[in-house]
Amino acid sequence: MKINILKSAIGCLTATGFLFSATASYAEDTLRIVSWGGAYQKGQSLGIFQPAAKAMGITVKEDTYGGISDVKLMVKSGADKFDIFSSGAGSCASGAAEGVLEKLDYSIIDVSNHLPGMYSDYCAGADIFSVVAAYNTDTYGEGKGPKTWADFYDVEKFPGTRAMRSKVDAQLETALLADGVPMDQVYKVLDSEEGIERALNKIRTIKPHIAVWWSSGAQHAQLMKDGEVDMTTGWNGRFDVAKEDGAKVAYDWQSGIMDWEGYGIPKGAKNKDLAMKYIAEMMKPEYMAEFAKYITYGPTNKKVYELGLMTDERAKMMPSHPDNAKHQLTLSTEWYSKWRTIAAEMYTEMMTE
């Protein structure tokens, strides 16, 4: 009797699930893409998603999502919500390791003009961004704020409140760079629990000065705009958009940690073939150049510079511009696929102390 009730209950639930998935109809020439919202997705939408869709004569519906975990949960539960997602290289790599992504077909997607390392088997790089140390120009004066990570961690030279990310990503690197580890040694040092602990200990030294642990790009932009903290780690493009909005914020490329974002396809996406062609279209330099007009995230496709699609003035604002890139550490996706989970737990432990 009990089992029968259970069975029929499960039957009912499955039936409703089936109905819902059946009603979520899709057309052959429609794609659903998800990204991060805010100033970032606005740029993607106006610069890439919609123009590329128009060029191919298809319909592209946009939505926001919560990151690679959404992809994983969607694939594992057999749901069908989107065909393409925009994701950081590291997250994409961890999704690939979990086996929830479709391998990209680089005979369709042309990456021959991509900067070295700016694409992977499961993620086609679209833009390059940097994690920088941004400071309030009212507090320190334009150009007089912290330039390097060593400055960010120096509470005597630069007194004031700080904000760091509530997740581990691109935060430990800042601590080691501040601790004097040379750029090419950072991931070697981090390649053990002792190394991670060393970075965490460095963060512990400034913990009393960390007023906020931010959780989104919109939040750290707001923190700077409202003058809630004097300096924060965060994504360069968000600060540039905030600055255009009148925020008193500046940063120096010497504190940059470069990372890239790209497009991936969840395993079993119904419109996989079309999604592949659409990603190929989005890799064209003209879209990347258009996107970079809205937010200062640089193109992965070298052709943008070679064809002169971007003004020199704008190009100098991009994290990937040679003058800017030479100061910066490039984020290692390999390190994140190996250590992220362990490092994240250790980071939370440090945060809750």
């Binding site: 009730i5 939370t348 945060m351 102390e353």
Partner: protein, 295 residues
Amino acid sequence: MTIAEIEKPNERGLQQVAANERLTFFGLTLPYLLMVTALIVIPVGWLFYLSFIGRDGSLSFENYERMMKSKAYIRIFLTTFKISILTTIICAAIGYPLAYFMSQLSRKWANICMIGVLIPFWTSLLVRTYAWLVLLQKKGLLNNMAIEMGLISEPIKIVHNTTGTLIGMVHIMLPFLILPLYANMRAIDKDTLKAASSLGATPTRAFWTVFFPLSLPGLLAGLLIVFVLCLGFYVTPAILGGGRVIMAAMKISSNIELYFSWGAASALGVVLLVVTGIILFIASKLVSMDQLGNR
């Protein structure tokens, strides 16, 4: 005729009626029982089961082992209970006098006060939380006003910490305490207080020996609702706590993102459920509900 038939002439008939009545009542509760089974028993059981599923999909204790290994989990649970208990106490300290005041007013004025309680209650939680952020932040309305009036020289930190979290949570939780408490106080017969006075009790004494005990069931119901709802809070501590107040719900969400598995999150839910159950059990032993009802 037996003695039994003489003493209880309609024994059988009465038994039949009673049996029918029980059946009717059971039939009436059936939809509710089914709903509880479908919406509570099955999902909670499922949660329990999932918490024993490892990342590779096999049965394992890894989700619980992880919680034993890292000190972060115990700290997060302590924070969760600390914040919930503090919110509950502050709600009681503010809510009890307010509910008492409202219960002494005429119906008309009490209803007007009630609107004041209900309008924030009906406003979106997210809107109220962000409103508090705007009010309390470093260059927010409150700090700016206090500085301009010369009350303080430096902005004080009242948000992105425990204080801010408590302010936001108390504001959101207060109606949950006031509503049952007010209903209870309204139902208290005012003549009992008059009787106490006529027997020589001072107003203070009459309040503490007559009114307060009679209002306890309402107070306890309110405290219980507030406490349990606080345990699962997510948005308010996430925004007003500034990452420095991490409660269980926030760790549950970050564990899904971190481990890509329901199990890692379910285990936290199970522990929270069990610990809450134990606390409520102890509380119910200390303050017997039946006793309160019989006073």
